[in-house]
Amino acid sequence: MPAKVVEGKVVDSYRFSGPAAKIMRQAIPQEPQYDCIPWTPLKKPLRECRVALLTTAGISLKTDVPFDMERERQNPLWGDPSFRKIPHWVTEKDIEVNHIHIKADYLYQDLNVALPLQRFQELAQLGEIGALVPTHYSIMGYNTDPTELVCTSAPQIAAGMKAEEVDVAFLVPV
């Protein structure tokens, strides 16, 4: 079904937020929280780029240790900062969604809504991207203290992508 297009649209950050999420999002500081923004220019046309995907949907393989939802239930200010590797071949039947802030049913129906492996394989077959690499990644998007995510998980994800000569990382939050 073609998406409805509204030229000149400006995204409303809060249109789909529930009341508690609206309060949480008021926590976003008004002032920039960084001294500079990292930058790696795109070095080649997309049709030559190797692409990796990263989702915040808390997806694990059925053979993985799941993200720790029980600890979050005990301490709602804590969110699991670990990550999982997701091979390119997985389908809905190979995974679990460990994320208690979203409606997971849609991902079990079609993983592509948050981890678009099939869509990117199609783009690779059409020659619109160079290739989809073998390994993709999931984190779980609720986290009130980003220290471990930034200092432990993210560098390992980046190193894994570098090892597979990734040119482009495509990030899909939920």
Partner: protein, 136 residues
């Protein structure tokens, strides 16, 4: 997500983040953002809607090629066809933190959840960079 994006970009990989809350990207300096006003849990479109998903992905990839400066944001023109109040987009029960907030048990959620903990985000990023440099 944006903080992870920054680490990946800094490692020498071009990144694009689809983002339903572009207010975050402004605060935390996401390198490249395709802002999209779609519901949480349905980021790229409806299950089974291959055409609609591809349309969003292609537009986001175009944003990736068009953004020429750090922090660039392209607002994608797609409009979700349903009213947010009627859509079935929330988890079966509110998350633990949402329950606490609704019960009034987090007296100052903005401070507890946000600025208090995230104010030091630049220091955290610097620490991450030092660790990454030491690992090289």
């Amino acid at each position: 997500m944006g903080l992870v994006q920054r680490v990946i970009e800094e490692a020498g990989i071009s990144t694009l983040c689809v983002n339903m809350v572009p207010d975050y990207s402004r605060a935390y300096g996401f390198p490249r953002v395709a802002a999209l006003e779609y519901p949480f849990s349905l980021t790229l479109g409806r299950p089974g809607d291959r055409e609609g998903q591809l349309q969003v992905i292609r537009a986001a990839l175009q944003a990736l090629t068009e953004i020429q400066e750090p922090g660039g944001v392209v607002h994608l023109p797609f409009e979700w066809p349903e009213d947010p109040t009627t859509g079935d987009i929330h988890p079966p029960e509110p998350s633990p933190i949402a329950k606490l907030i609704r019960q009034g048990k987090v007296p100052n959620p903005v401070e507890v959840l946000g600025q208090g903990r995230w104010r030091s985000v630049d220091a955290i990023l610097r620490k991450g960079r030092k660790l990454a440099a030491a690992a090289d």
